[in-house]
């Protein structure tokens, strides 16, 4: 039986009021709704506040290096496609240090659900700018204000025709949980970029700031219409659309490997007869 309690109840190291608490709750709810048994789920994370999430859940976890969650998750999914693989990490981890892997994961369309806790700042290292930090945002590392324009992950993912692109808000747990369920059900790469207040280091994009702006995409939005989706993806200002923005049905990366048609790699013993044949070809 899958239950909310089965996913454990741990003391966290996050600040009171941090958006991460609500994201954790939404994820737990989603896992229960999807009826996934803890031992069938693997959460891969990088380093940062968000990346601590798997320590607060009773699941398999690989808490790897800063920026490298997606490659590790890709390897794990390829080794055992029966695992339900989720990546959880911050905006800095996924879009900064791991930016190249973000692009590559979209291109591959590996069946991994990427949950980005996007607080538009580096939380764990105490408030430096991240790739999604607004232009002009002042930090101790950018005392004259951030000179670069922010990265728009939703627009990039949509432009690259990622399998599934959504934006959520930690202040709307049920809506977020529903997005995560849909993302996990999508057979291919799924991004959920999650607006998350950081009470300690982001005094601009606060809970109230997001609350006022994050509104569900309009009812008539068709996420299979790419051009429409691009417009929604670029909407950022007084209104920040949340919900499923784009999706398609490209075959998942792992379906291209003939080795995986025979199940997880470990279940396939070495065929020494075939290997002997290969050696013979060197004669």
């Amino acid at each position: 039986m899958v239950s909310f309690e089965g996913y454990g109840n741990y003391e966290t190291a996050w600040c009171p009021g941090c958006g991460n608490h609500a994201i954790l709750e939404a994820l737990k709810k989603a896992l229960v709704t999807a009826e996934l048994l803890p031992y069938r789920v693997l959460i891969v994370s990088g380093i940062g506040q968000a990346a601590k999430s798997p320590h607060y859940l009773n699941v398999n976890f690989f808490n790897g290096l800063h920026g490298r969650a997606l490659p590790a998750a890709t390897g794990a999914k390829l080794a055992n496609p029966d695992l339900n693989v989720i990546v959880e990490s911050g905006d800095g981890c996924n879009y900064g240090e791991g930016g190249n892997h973000f692009l590559a994961a979209i291109r591959r369309n590996i069946d991994v659900t990427l949950l980005v806790h996007d607080n538009q700042v580096y939380g764990l290292t105490k408030g430096q700018a991240s790739p999604t930090t607004a232009e002009g945002f002042v930090t101790k590392a950018q005392p004259a204000g951030v000179p670069s324009i922010p990265f728009n992950p939703v627009a990039v993912a949509t432009a690259m025709q990622a399998g599934f692109v959504a934006r959520g808000f930690s202040g709307n747990v049920d809506h977020l949980s529903d997005l995560i369920v849909k993302a996990m059900a999508h057979p291919g790469f799924a991004l959920v970029d999650i607006m998350q207040p950081c009470v300690s280091f982001n005094k601009v994009n606060t809970f109230a700031w997001y609350k006022q702006r994050c509104q569900p995409v309009s009812e008539d939005h068709d996420p299979t219409d790419w051009e429409q989706a691009m417009k929604v993806a670029f909407t950022w200002g007084d209104r920040i659309p949340i919900g499923v923005i784009y999706h398609n049905q490209r075959p998942a990366f792992e379906t291209h490997f003939s080795a995986l048609k025979r199940g997880p790699l470990i279940k396939q013993p070495v065929n020494t007869t075939k290997l002997a044949g290969i050696l013979e070809s060197f004669a």
Binding site: A72, G75, L78, N80
Partner: protein
């Protein structure tokens, strides 16, 4: 040089098909029962420039390359100018008659008459095969197999050229023949280079996952595995960069796939964070580093043993690792297998350190009996440990029971942070010390399983030559030649360069009158490693770092001055 050994160099521009001649000749020679050592020297370009493919051949076993050339097949004039000084006394230069060269040592081939221009390399092969006394059908078969998959018209034209050029060469003056001594009872051997042997060793060990980013001279390992991926049920993935490659392989290994990565120094520099991650998460991985001269991009297509210290110290933090440095094709195969076994046994990073010379060096090897070699298997899936399973349980050996995620009801954690026995991050400093000690204790077990260095020759020689990795063949041959001159010589070759177990070799170092280190780098890295681990100072060193492999001649020439 004994008369029975012949060094054949084929030289020309990239794109002239000299590798094709080389490959076909190598195949024919091995099938005829000869031993060969191939040395490939090429520039980092696809067309033009100057490249050579050198085959040293002998009816008796050889393991080293040779500098003097007995037969030079020059596909362009530049090759003659660059290599005529290397010709041995009985050397012959095979050239296009149109090059307008004269002299007793030239074989002037009417290429225009023998072949259309694009098949000139095959005409060269035909002439060469007759001069060496190789049977026509042997060469023809090798050629048909090689071109078999391409179009039929081409196969037909090629064989016409081969037949025609052989007929022309049969009529050559006897003085222009360099017939190889016949092998009376040819043994069946495989033609294989170092990288292919690494790939095959990995397959035999049960590799299921390789991720890589292309970089010479490592790429052919991945290409060999990619070609066999479908048949052998493994995944080969070209990653977006080397950082992704190693992190991907670690994710795969964590989830149960026997995993490896292959790269060269520059790519390995990017992978280094992953080495440390493998150690911390105690995830098995085999890392092949095929060296080329550095720093930075260095000489992309040449050889060096310059990354020993880099690999030895790679990875922040303190943790055990093992480094193999194969010296023969067979060692490439078996030590790669060994690296997989130890990676699994000790749950961490194991290295195979090779270089461009070995990577590209085709040789004749006795077939491996793969049916008798068990694959490395991660933990049996069906074994359910006791309910209080702890992934990082503190043990005396330092090795904790490894379960895979998804196969039992247990959830399996791995963390790059310092962690408790269940894998969760901790800042409990007492736990930190326990965990660091536990991980480091694996070095004891690893040390007990070290492949000992190979010692040859007298027990207390006047001269002991110490080497590691790919210089083995050259050092052995140099020693053999010195012995025939009556010198008292011994050799000590390390095919595992870390950990070092002084008890395995100190008596040899102490027992010799004079010890000389032979290494393919500029600073004597291995000699330094011996000194830091044992205190024994090998002050006399023969070093080479001009991008070319160490040869017996090089050692003998430099021995005089050390």
């Amino acid at each position: 040089m004994p008369e029975t050994v012949l060094n054949i160099m084929i030289g020309g521009e990239a794109g002239q098909g000299l590798v094709t001649i080389g490959q076909l000749l190598a195949k024919s020679l091995v099938r005829a029962g000869y031993f060969i050592v191939v040395t490939q020297s090429y520039q980092s370009r696809i067309r033009g420039g100057h490249n050579t493919y050198t085959i040293r051949v002998s009816p008796d076993e050889i393991q080293a390359s040779q500098e003097s050339v007995d037969l030079l097949v020059a596909l362009d004039k530049q090759t003659i100018d660059l290599h005529q000084d290397e010709m041995s006394a009985r050397g012959l230069i095979v050239v296009d008659e149109a090059f307008d060269r004269r002299g007793d040592n030239y074989v002037l081939v009417p290429y225009k008459q023998l072949s259309p221009e694009r098949f000139a390399n095959i005409a060269g092969l035909g002439v060469l095969s007759v001069m060496l006394g190789l049977d026509g059908p042997l060469v023809a078969t090798a050629m048909d197999e090689f071109f078999g998959k391409k179009n039929e018209e081409m196969v037909k034209q090629n064989s016409q050229v081969l037949v025609g050029s052989r007929a022309w060469a049969e009529a050559l003056d006897k003085s222009l023949a360099r017939r190889l001594p016949a092998v009376t009872n040819p043994q069946k051997r495989l033609l294989m280079n170092g990288n292919e042997a690494i790939a095959l060793g990995a397959l035999s060990a049960g590799v299921k996952f390789l991720s890589f980013y292309p970089m010479s001279p490592a790429t052919s390992i991945a290409l060999t595995l990619a070609a066999k991926a479908e048949a052998m049920g493994l995944i080969v993935e070209q990653a977006e960069d080397e950082i992704a490659a190693i992190n991907m392989a670690l994710g795969a290994s964590y989830a149960g796939a026997t995993a490896m990565v292959s790269t060269s120094g520059g790519g390995f520099a990017l992978m280094v964070e992953g080495v440390s991650l493998a150690a911390m998460t105690e995830t098995p991985i085999v890392i092949v580093v095929a060296q080329r001269p550095g720093p930075a991009t260095g000489l992309p297509t040449r050889t060096e043993q310059g990354d020993l210290e880099f690999v030895l110290h790679a990875g922040h933090g303190e943790f055990p690792k093992g480094i193999f440095a194969p010296g023969t094709i067979e060692q490439n195969f078996y030590l790669t297998r060994r690296a997989f076994e130890l990676a699994e046994e000790y749950q961490g990073p194991m290295f195979v350190l090779t270089d461009q010379f070995m990577a590209d060096s085709y040789r004749a090897v006795t077939p491996f009996e793969v049916a008798d070699l068990p694959a490395v298997r991660p933990i049996e899936l069906q074994i359910l440990p006791k309910m209080n399973y702890q992934r990082y349980a503190i043990t005396e050996s330092g090795v904790s029971p490894r379960l895979l995620p998804g196969y039992t009801k247990h959830v399996i954690g791995a963390d790059s942070d310092e962690h408790t026995t269940d894998g969760h991050l901790t800042e409990d400093l007492a736990v930190r010390v326990q965990m660091q000690d536990k991980r480091y204790r694996k070095l004891t077990g690893l040390s007990a399983e070290v492949t000992p260095p190979e010692c040859r020759g007298e027990e207390h020689p006047d001269l002991l030559l110490v080497c590691w990795g790919t210089t083995r063949g050259a050092v052995h041959e140099a020693a053999t030649r010195l012995k025939t001159e009556g010198r008292s010589v011994g050799t000590l070759h390390f095919s595992q360069v870390w950990p070092l177990v002084p008890e395995q070799f100190m008596n040899h170092l102490n027992g010799a009158k004079q010890v000389v280190a032979v290494e393919g780098n500029a600073t004597g890295q291995f000699a330094r490693l011996i000194r830091t681990t044992t205190g024994f100072h090998i002050s006399r060193q023969i070093l080479r770092y001009d991008g070319l492999p160490i040869t017996p001649e090089y050692i003998l020439k430099n021995l005089a001055s050390v």
